[in-house]
Structures are given as structure tokens and as C-alpha cells.
């Protein structure tokens, strides 16, 4: 299924948006996706989280490859 993005959500993010997995239309880059997510889930504005594209954390704006696996990661608290 082209032109979609698979998104996984974890921890407090999953709790806020009420799901651990969702599929969204494809966005060109991480900033556009973030904007769309904040519109779709305003609750995300109240918490801290990072984006991973294909299992790599990103810090700046980045292109989103086709069929990328995106993850929404709240601050880590393992150990």
C-alpha cells in the first residue's frame, strides 16, 4: 500500500492518542507529519515525545521514505 505511513505509539503517547498503531497518509517530511499529528491528536501538544524513522531517532526535519515505519517515543525510562 503506497503513500501511507505506519505509525507506532508507545508509553504515554499511546495513552494520549488511545492507540498503539495507526496508518496515515504519506507526508513528505517529519515536520509536515508532526503538524498533521498535532492537528489529529491535540493531546500530543501537552507531552514530550520524539520521532523515529525506521528505528532511528531523528532530531531535525527529515525526509520520510516510502513505507517508512514511524514511531512516537516519549522520554525513555528503562532500567
Amino acid at each position: 500500500m503506497p503513500n501511507t505511513i505506519h505509525i507506532k505509539a508507545f508509553g504515554m503517547v499511546a495513552e494520549k492518542i488511545g492507540t498503539t498503531e495507526l496508518v496515515m497518509d504519506h507526508y513528505q517530511d517529519s515536520e509536515a507529519l508532526l503538524d498533521a499529528l498535532l492537528v489529529k491528536f491535540p493531546a500530543l501538544k501537552t507531552i514530550k515525545f520524539s520521532l523515529a524513522i525506521n528505528k532511528k531517532l531523528i532530531s531535525n526535519k527529515q525526509e520520510i521514505p516510502e513505507n517508512a515505519e514511524i514511531a512516537l517515543l516519549p522520554p525513555f525510562s528503562g532500567g
Binding site: 508507545f10 508509553g11 504515554m12 523515529a52 516519549p74 522520554p75 525513555f76 525510562s77 528503562g78
Partner: protein, 148 residues
Amino acid sequence: MEKERKPKNIFVQGSISPETIAKSIANHSTKTDIGGHSIFLGQVRADEKPEGKVLAIDYSAYEEMALEKAFEIREAIFAKYPLTCMHIYHSLGEVKVGELCLFVFTSSKHRKAAMDACDELVERIKAELPVWGKEILDTDNHVWKVNV
């Protein structure tokens, strides 16, 4: 020698038992070039929060990413310190207060490498692995654990 070049699983379901630790230690008695082992164990604390008292932590992880990251950390630590062995175990699911949720184990010829590597491993695991702890409270509430 366990310098495998592929990610290995670090996750165990539920708490880590003292017997598992004993077995892991005993497994190293045949490695007679080891002079020192350093071990760190994480134990779930009965913290008092404004929202209630912690009874357990329910751990979840982005497993595939965590295993990739753990492998990357493992390789970096092996490159930095002259270690004989390195083992990492982290719990998933519920771990009750007083039970163990993290077991980090390094071994080397001389003690300093094992000790320094263990410290660095623990710091990196806590900071870099996509793992989350949900603290289950005695009030039926929960709070999300925050690492300091």
C-alpha cells in the same frame, strides 16, 4: 568469548530471578582468563508519589529498535574496553516492588575494564533504549516513570 556480530535478545518476561543471575555467574567459571566481574541490578522501588505508592512497574519497549540500539551500544563498549564478556537483560511486563528489572554483567581480565564498562552500559541503557516503565500505584492509578 561472546563477541557475536548480531543483535541478541535482551528482554525477559517479568522479573529477573536471583537464580538466573547465579547461573549466569556460574557459566563464567570455565573462562579462566577472567579476573573480575562487574554486575549492576536494577530493583523496583516502592516510591511514594503524590498519586499513590508504587506497587509494580509495567515495562514496555519498542523491541526491534531497542535490540538494534542495544547491539550498537554493545559493539561500542566492546570496542572501547578490553572485555571478555557482556550480558544485558531487561524486563518486559510487570515487575513487582523488590524484584529485579535490569541485569548488566561485564567481565574482563583486570577489574577496571569490567567496572567502567558496566557503569557506562547502565547509563547508556537508561538513556538510549526505547523502553518505558509504567508505575502501577496502590490507588489504581499509574504514572509514567521518569529517568533522572
